[in-house]
Amino acid sequence: MGALSLARLALAVAGLGLLLLPWHGLEGGVADIASWPGGAAAPLVALLPGGERWWLWPLVPLLVAPLPALAAGRVPGRLLAACGAGAIAWVFLQGHAIGLRGVAWPVLEPWLGEVRQTSLGWGAAAVLAGAAGLVATGLAARGRFGGDAFIAFLVVGSAGLLLLFVFVPLLTILSAAVVEDGRLAPAALAARVTTPEAWSLACLADRQGCGVVWNTLALASLTGVLSTLLGLAFALLAARGNVRAMPAFRAMTILPLITPPFVVSLSLIVLFGRTGLVTGWMWEWFGIPRTRWIYGLPGVLLAQVLAQAPIAFVLLEGAVRAIGPSLEEAASTMGARRFTVFRTVTWPLLRPALAAAFLLGFVESLADFGNPLVLGGDFDVLSTRIFFAIAGARHDPGQAAALALLLLMLTFGAFALQALWIGKRRYTTVTGKGDSGVPAPLPRGLKFVCGAVAWPWMAFTAAVYGIILVGGFVHDIGRGDMAFTWRHFLTGFEVEWLDGMAFRGSAWDSLFTTIQVAAVSAPLTAGLGILLAWLLARQSFPGRRSLEFMTMLSFAIPGTVVGVSYILAFNVPPVELTGTALILVICFVFRNLPVGVRGGIAALAQIDRSLDEASATMGGGAVQTLRRVILPLLRPAIVAALAFSFVHAMTAVSAVIFLVSARHNLATVYIVGRVEAGEMALAIAYSTVLILIMLAVVLGIERLVGRAQIGRRAVPATPMRAGA
């Protein structure tokens, strides 16, 4: 898209915000629109002449100034950038300066007098979007971003969104780490970060507990390693082992993804708790005493590996299939034995995928909140400790912020290590050139080992999900009361026919909201994520590293911290979102964004740049290359991002527990309440319904968007589902 047309479009959008859309947020909901163009829904142009919003006048000249030049077909870079930036700055400055209860900054009091205003609305949002477009075209016209206005707009826009919805809320809450009793205290930060509660090594000496940081690190590393190894075993069997169990494999990979939190933990308790089914058999048949081993590191680890191994499998399977067989063929032709080929060719090519699988397992384990909550016992990790520092009986936001900083540090440490291990080597295997050959079968010993690991694990997974399936239909599975009943489903999902359908079950409201929010946030997440991935992987522009950092930031922050930071940042004007469904959508989009971005980057890393260059040589601009070349090749990554963000939006808990409101409650929060009340059966029944819905959606998305076929002869390759 040319700079001129983009600038005109941006100005039009800003004009729309100025002239038509309600400037302030609609306090009374959609019904307020009736009062347009006056009252609560008044656009800015109706507010200005009255003089009550006189401090907004500067916006008008800022937005009118570029008009003559643009109308004449010129793109004055400096002017556009200055006007756009000025408008953005002014909107936020006045919004922060003049709040609900009058002037926020005492310095301005004598100048402004008695003024107050409510939050920014759709009109302000449109003006901001237009102003961002002006800044972008201005910068592009001055030669930045390779002179491409489209890329400039993407960068400026996404950077603005990330700043607003990731960086600022985090800064708000993390600054609590250096504040004590309302004053700045760097010494308090030092004390909080180095507290023995986090770093104690007492567990090595005697039978005390260790610091939370060590606990968290141990758990995350174990989860990462075990799930990667299990995933690798499954991936090798599936891609190279000639096993005819693909449907079972696929089912196993999807199930943990679509499982709401807590259920796996509950099921593990039913199986291995002190009065559990397996524990009981062990006692009766072998005299193994009933113990409580499941509560603590082993239980949490088991639950996390159950969830992560399939994700590792998906990642690694794609990578194994994507390895061009010609390299391996070359090695065999030169006389290498099968195991040597595997060791020297296949394994090194898998390195990025292995690193990615480990990293995902590691990071997901750091962020996991539900499993440690239910199964942790005395074993404390950072995520739960942070939650209770904020919401526990001893309210200590400073400590919570310090612990969150530690968690952040661990996550970024993991990313840094990954970058170090993969190094600067190239792993491209999908090129524009033809690539034929049959992949080498697995060495026999390796196949045996993989099978010995994979099949028992499969059986174990089946048992865990079997319990979930049964649990919703019996009286109380926790106490072994196995009489069949519909009671739990009736409580949650009763439907009555009284002149029309009436949803009487107590779970309906939260179910409808959840589906709505997930359905809106999933495409937004996938779209923004893939765009960002493409920007980060294929474009070079100043500030690229910082943009990448910001996309990863929200992944590294525990959900509880995100939730509380969103209330702190968005409960008062200028950006007032609490209590709406919008805040849930935004929270999900930016929380799940990293997955779309990482998946997209991983997929792009395997697509040779020569394809982009070919498109560019033939005269394709950025938009065309993206649309015609990159997006079709990225289809699998898009499918993965869509499915993943939908599923995550339906299963997230810790981030939204503070954001739900009476009108917009979510399924997971409802389930947490059931678990708290000890009503495991109802929780399990609800989870079964959620699992079915998510299954239908994931399969539906796959059908709708389609699975990519990367053309190779001999073996029809299945998709590279990177970064699921």
Binding site: L26, V30, A391, G392, H395, D481, Q516, L568, S661, E676
Partner: protein, 344 residues
């Protein structure tokens, strides 16, 4: 292709409509933060809607979470009334000026403990129910191990209960903090900590939620669970083989409370709800919802299953002293240092 696009457009439009910032209308509405079990919250709100015609928007969260929410929203409050949940956070909210004073005309109908709590907080909160602290044990498991039934706090420190007692972590749960403060008041601080160190040897897990040990005792995951007795009653009524114990040395109790949030948008309705929730009829709803606390209105029927205060040796629990954040922090720090950190 066209149909898919139309579909997508419709979805987006619908979503936008749903996502438009919408806040409760000023008339005929009320936002309640509810901190008891969902089964009790729902009929309570429905009954109030029927009685007054006011539309209630209710959010259920634990009392700690609600406290966090109210604190975070202090600059622009969203809720009107905070109903239910243990009294400590309500008193903290009163102390932090997050709630407002309201003297309900129904104060005269209340039990003395409820009135005293209101007086102590300058009428910023009021007791709506009370529940005694105690423990429950799994009778089946106890018989299988041939252990004599415990009757007192001291019994729980006996060696045969090693690894068999479950209690919440006072850092995360008001229930466990109530136990800590109760023991200090019964025994004196030094002997109480000696006892807690002995009990620590027998604790298999410090749970995070206060009511979790009752459930664990019901399923046999632990032999003894220390909770409020009404949580254990719920398990017993549900058919679990548990027996309840009100310890012989005496025990403390919680006062479930209600407060009006400062800056409530529907102040008029908030007061109406406040008055209504103190009536005998409203308080009778608890038992129907399988919550067996003792109602604060003297005329409200006491559920037959509820552990009666007459049968329990209640101590004169000093809520003002042990609820203050200073004492709380000191006790919790000491517990963390001397009890929790000890080897076992």
């Amino acid at each position: 292709m066209v149909s898919r696009r139309t579909l997508a457009a419709a979805a987006v439009a619908g979503a936008l409509a749903a996502a438009l910032p919408g806040v409760a209308r000023a008339q005929g509405q009320l936002t309640v933060y509810c901190s008891v079990q969902e089964e009790w919250c729902r009929p309570m709100m429905a009954a109030f809607e029927r009685a007054t015609g006011v539309r209630v928007a209710m959010t259920r969260r634990s009392s700690g979470e609600t406290m966090t929410q109210i604190r975070a929203e202090a600059a622009n409050p969203r809720g009107d009334v905070w109903w239910g949940g243990t009294g400590d956070p309500h008193m903290q909210a009163a102390q932090e000026n997050l709630t407002v004073e309201y003297r309900s005309p129904r104060l005269s109908e209340l039990q003395p403990w409820a009135v005293r709590q209101a007086e102590q907080t300058g009428f910023r909160t009021v007791g709506i129910y009370a529940g005694a602290l105690g423990y429950s044990y799994n009778a089946t498991e106890l018989a299988r191990r041939r252990i004599t039934a415990p009757r007192c706090w001291a019994d729980l420190a006996r060696p045969e209960f090693r690894g068999e007692v479950q209690v919440a972590d006072p850092n995360t749960s008001g229930t466990a903090y109530t136990m800590l403060a109760t023991l200090v008041q019964i025994m004196g601080e030094e002997p109480a900590f000696t006892y807690l160190r002995a009990l620590h040897q027998n604790v298999n897990q410090y749970t995070r939620s206060g009511a979790a040990p009752a459930r664990a005792a019901a399923t046999g995951e632990t032999l003894v669970g220390i909770t409020f007795l009404h949580d254990a009653v719920t398990q017993k009524v549900g058919g679990a083989p548990v027996e309840l114990v009100a310890p012989c040395e005496g025990t403390g109790y919680e006062i479930g409370s209600m407060s009006i949030i400062r800056g409530a948008r529907n102040m008029e309705n908030a007061r109406r709800f406040f008055d209504w929730a103190l009536t005998a009829e409203a308080q009778a709803l608890g038992a129907e919802a399988r919550s067996y606390q003792l109602p604060s209105n003297r005329n409200a029927p006491i559920p037959p299953q509820a552990p009666r205060f007459e049968d329990v040796r209640l101590i004169d629990y000093d809520f003002a002293r042990w609820g203050s954040s200073q004492e709380r922090t000191r006790l919790l720090d000491r517990w963390q240092r001397e009890v929790r950190a000890a080897a076992r």
